[in-house]
């Protein structure tokens, strides 16, 4: 999320993070609805739900975007396991810069779920 904020800084856009966390949208990112639905379907949905979400992305952004979106989802589905499976901490500058919105969005609660 830090890089989304930095991307917004570059373009002068204040992307909303809340809707990415709660899944309700409102981030201001283009084609947000289709792309978030593609993520959610791929991670937790059935083959039918994935197909429907994939068709919506292709309709809105094209075939190459489907492939690149699938690659991003796949890569992060894996790297989150690498991070969580090794216990690496956030670098201090990243932790400091993200402290306010991590607390506000409930992301810090992920730590307390670890057992």
């Amino acid at each position: 999320m830090d890089l989304l904020r930095r991307s917004g800084d570059h373009s002068g856009t204040d992307y909303g993070l809340d809707g990415i966390v709660d899944g309700n949208g409102g981030s201001g990112v283009g084609h947000e609805k289709e792309l978030l639905a593609f993520v959610d379907a791929t991670i937790t949905g059935t083959a039918g739900e994935i197909a429907k979400a994939r068709a919506a992305v292709e309709s809105g952004l094209g075939r190459e975007a489907v492939i690149d979106a699938a690659a991003v989802i796949a890569g992060f589905d894996a790297i989150t396991r690498v991070a969580d499976g090794t216990g690496i901490p956030l670098e201090p500058p990243k932790a400091e810069a993200s402290a306010d919105w991590r607390a506000r969005l409930g992301i810090d609660d992920y730590w307390t779920a670890k057992v």
Partner: protein
């Protein structure tokens, strides 16, 4: 599909069957097979739904004859990664899986997860596992690996020696914490990142917001990445 992407995915998949540093090629494929089976494990489903996963006792539904610590590691990494803890990891190591073997296992699970998720997203059948390569693991641990960052020792860029695979310099990698995560087995780290970067972005592209490198934009990429992290309860 971008050639760089299709080649990277194919290369990572083939490497699953190659002899590793701590596991043979056949053993690495067994880990991949178990990672796929974990998604259908009844015990893992019950634990995922429980407030405290360890409170649910029982046996994993397994597809292989891997030792119990390897089975537990694979199943939890696949089905409930967001609640893994240092105490859980220490128990895995105390019950017989070495730190290095755990890291290579994690790399195999990560590549299997990435490629299977990619194929699932695109609606293509899960690919057949590659053939097993010959050879015996050399079990070489990087001499400069040090404890202190994560749960296991890691190899910082300044501690890489000429005997180590060029895990940072080969990809222009800065050595951020996430780069170091798999560094106890440099070859595992490189196999993962050589696949991951074409899927996402190379380090030099991540903050180059004035130019787009994919058919989805920087904000779209970061939004999707963040949503996957939320789904997997990953703070990093």
């Amino acid at each position: 599909m971008r050639t760089e992407l299709s080649k990277a995915v194919a290369r990572a998949w083939q490497a699953l069957g190659a002899c590793g540093v701590w596991w043979t090629g056949e053993e690495r494929l067994t880990i991949a097979r178990e990672a796929r089976a974990a998604r259908h494990c009844a015990l893992c489903r019950q634990r995922k739904a429980a407030a405290i996963p360890q409170a649910v006792v029982g046996s994993h539904t397994t597809a292989t004859v891997l030792a119990p610590p390897a089975i537990e590691a694979i199943h939890r990494i696949v089905t409930d990664p967001g609640r893994l803890s240092e105490a859980w990891y220490k128990n895995i190591v105390a019950t017989g899986l070495t730190e290095e073997a755990y890291i290579e296992l994690l790399g195999v699970v990560a590549v299997t997860t990435a490629v299977d998720t990619f194929d699932r997203a695109l609606g293509t059948p899960l690919r057949a596992l590659p053939p097993a390569g010959a050879g015996q693991p050399n079990r070489r641990r990087p001499s400069g690996a040090k404890p202190g960052l994560g749960w296991m020792p890691m190899l910082a860029p300044e501690d890489v020696t000429a005997d180590d695979a060029p895990l940072y310099t080969s990809g222009g990698r800065s050595g951020g914490n996430v780069h170091r995560a798999l560094s106890l087995v440099p070859e595992a780290m490189m196999q993962f990142w050589d696949m991951f970067e074409p899927m996402y972005l190379h380090q030099s592209q991540m903050r180059d917001f004035g130019r787009e490198y994919r058919a989805v934009s920087h904000p779209q990429i970061e939004m999707m990445a963040a949503r996957v992290a939320v789904q997997n309860q990953c703070i990093y």
